[in-house]
């Protein structure tokens, strides 16, 4: 498909295309992108428009070998421009290789469907999948006609470099490149390329993000840093745990760290813009004290405005002090439950709530600006009463610490329990029941009308329907409490409570229709479509529960130029079937 006129095509040696969770999600009236069905813990929609940060490493590594990789966030573009003609856009993106992620399975539907579109538009191109979930499902994924190659492993920089280099020269003999599964799963090149000491030593270059204007204070600059890959911990629900890595990747050593110097260089790439940029410090719970303090020195030197640190233990006092001196520091704790038995079963339980409450004032005294305390729904032993007891405990925290200084939050584990995690692999031992096992099962689940039927798990203590119901009950009660204590402005609390009530009513209507008639009536479909349009018009999360316009986030698209966008959007008033084609 060749554009005959209009803006120039974008070329690259490889395009990395981030698909929406469901393709095409726009105007769907047969499934609900329900409030809370994306957990509401991160500032994205149910389309999951944030791509893996590891793509930066791939882009950088290939650039160092003279290969041009461009990232196009198709999901974000589709949200920002609902009239975007995706096939027409793909016609303007030219590369011998197109890469896709399924990112914790949330994109198992959309990424495969988008790859099918790419193969339709560019029949000669190679479609490549990679990442942890793609590794887990490598053979099944490779059997799908939309997937030419799956690159296994979490050290894929060199195999992908070799793959792109070979294909751009016109080669198709991939036998010498390790870690590949291809030819409908018939050919494998051996899973031999394992993480070396410095496997992920690529600098994530944030300079592209420096000069972007803030269109809204609600989307002020936020970047992420990832100083390591793998994990030092072993949470039973996590597909990135030690257990999962050892089984999926076939390695003994599961935590691989990036060189200190490279992390420091990475922080410097924001330049002066660091002064009004915040950082979400991913996986710093696996860092040792020396590396953590070096990181804090670099944050201070670069002048970053603030950093949010994920911590699995109560941060020691010398590190707290250094955090407080380095920047505006926030700490994200995740005990998962107030109940020590559940917390421990969830892979935490390294401190009691009493210890945490004694630690919070010390953290604040050391200069920490706030502590966020995350609780999780869907853990072993956790029944409805336990979840509501967690909310009651949250009220105690709000009363004691006056809200933002120690802010409790609760979210359900959705849409899936990670394949490869201990609970997924050994469900009976941990009180879980698994509904979807294969990639195809998960792809079907992603387009289930009701989100509780999308879930791939339930527990002995909470059925899928219970998980949905108690999630709404818990979040609604916590929002009420925050409104009562003035943590949230009253009208924000009222808005969320209205959204929850509307969502539950609509889910109930859909469930009744499906049970009684086996289908969704036309009038109800109209309501679903209108709801989805509203929910997918903004992003939101429980931390800042405001409608935030798209654009300006680090993962929004910065690749497709405005003139190309203008050329691939539907003309206003175009009727179905009147789409322009290149």
């Amino acid at each position: 498909m060749t554009p005959v006129s209009g803006p120039p095509v974008l070329t690259a040696d490889m395009f990395l295309l981030h698909a929406p969770s469901v393709y095409d999600f726009r105007e769907r009236d047969d499934m609900l992108f329900a409030y809370l069905s994306d957990s509401d813990s991160v500032n994205v929609t149910g389309v999951y428009e944030m791509y893996p940060i590891g793509w930066f490493s791939l882009r950088q590594h290939l650039a160092e070998h003279g290969l041009d990789v461009k990232i196009v966030n198709v999901a974000s573009l589709m949200l920002q421009y609902p009239d975007l003609d995706v096939r027409r856009l793909l016609g303007y993106l030219r590369a011998p290789v197109y890469g896709f992620d399924i990112h914790w399975m949330a994109h198992c539907h959309g990424a495969v469907e988008l790859a099918a579109e790419v193969k339709s538009v560019h029949p000669g191109a190679l479609t490549v999948f990679g990442g942890i979930s793609a590794t887990y499902y490598a053979e099944e994924l490779a059997r799908h006609p939309a997937a030419d190659v799956v690159v296994q492993g979490y050290d894929t920089l060199e195999p992908v470099r070799a793959l792109v280099d070979t294909v751009r020269r016109g080669g198709r003999d991939l036998a010498a490149i390790p870690n590949l599964v291809y030819d409908a799963g018939e050919r494998r090149t051996g899973f031999t390329h394992k993480p070396a000491e410095n496997y992920n030593n690529a600098v994530n270059d944030w300079s592209y993000y420096q000069g972007t204007p803030a269109d809204s204070p609600l989307t002020s600059k936020l970047i992420m840093t990832l100083p390591n890959t793998g994990c030092a911990h072993d949470c039973g629900w996590c597909g990135g745990s030690k257990f999962a890595y050892r089984n999926i990747m076939g390695v003994r050593r599961t935590l691989i760290t990036k060189d200190d110097d490279l992390v420091v260089r990475e922080l410097a790439t924001m330049g002066e813009a660091a002064k009004h940029t915040s950082i979400y410090a991913l996986q710093c719970y696996s860092e040792n004290k020396r590396r953590m303090h070096r990181y804090l020195d670099a944050v201070k030197d670069a002048g970053y405005k603030s950093v949010s640190f994920e911590q699995f233990v109560l941060t020691p006092e010398d590190t707290l002090k250094k955090m407080g001196e380095s920047t505006e520091s926030y700490i994200m704790l995740s005990p998962e439950s107030h109940d020590p038995r559940i917390s421990k079963a969830a892979g935490r339980g390294t401190y009691t709530m009493e210890q945490m409450e004694a630690w919070i004032p010390r953290a604040l005294d050391a200069g920490i600006k706030g502590v966020m305390i995350w609780f999780f729904i869907g853990m072993p032993y956790q029944d409805r009463q336990s979840v509501m007891d967690t909310v009651a405990y949250s009220e105690h925290l709000i009363r004691k610490f006056k809200g933002w200084a120690a802010l409790p939050l609760v979210c359900p584990m959705v849409p899936f329990l990670d394949p490869g995690s201990r609970f997924f692999e050994e469900p009976d031992r941990h009180g879980y029941r698994i509904f979807h096992r294969t990639l195809a099962d998960h792809r079907r689940a992603m387009v289930e009308p009701l989100w509780h039927r999308r879930l791939n798990y339930e527990t002995e203590w909470l059925s899928r329907r219970d998980l949905q119901d108690v999630s709404y009950d818990a979040v609604a009660r916590l929002v009420e409490v925050k409104g009562e204590y003035g943590v949230l402005p009253a009208f924000f609390a009222e808005t969320i409570l209205r959204a929850i009530a509307e969502t539950r009513a609509l889910l109930g209507e859909m469930e009744r229709a499906l049970e009684l008639d086996g289908r969704l009536p036309a009038e109800l479909r109209d309501t679903i479509r209108a709801y989805n349009r509203k929910v997918l018009a903004y992003s939101s999360d429980q931390i800042v529960p405001a409608e935030r316009p798209f654009g300006g986030r680090w993962f929004d698209d910065f690749t497709v130029p405005p003139e190309l966008l203008a050329a691939v959007r539907e003309p206003v008033g175009a009727a179905p079937g009147e789409r322009r084609s290149p």
């Binding site: 204070p217 609600l218 989307t219 002020s220 002064k275 940029t277 915040s278 603030s306 316009p549």
Partner: protein, 90 residues
């Protein structure tokens, strides 16, 4: 409420809540709040809540943009404009 009073109340709120009281008096009505990082998403939600609950003006989500929240003066202008809409004034 006069424009001057609206400006003063917004300035005072930002000083008290986001600038530790601004003891050195650095905040001016034209200080760039976004570039300084004073208004991040969290602070903006709190400020919008304050405007709604204390000044009685509902700021629609679409109006929470970089132009309207550039500085104290632009926020005050937005609030005054919304007051006029609410009150039916020209």
């Amino acid at each position: 409420m006069s424009d001057e009073l609206v400006t003063a109340r917004i300035r005072d709120y930002i000083r008290a809540n986001f600038l530790d009281g601004d003891p050195d008096g650095e905040l001016q009505d034209t200080s760039p709040l976004l570039e300084w990082g004073v208004l991040n998403s969290l602070n903006t939600v709190r400020l919008v809540g304050y405007i709604r609950e204390e000044l009685g003006v509902k700021v629609p989500p679409v109006a929470v943009n970089g132009a309207n929240f550039r500085d104290v003066r632009s926020i005050a202008a937005l609030v005054s404009a919304q007051q006029s809409v609410k009150g039916g004034a020209p």
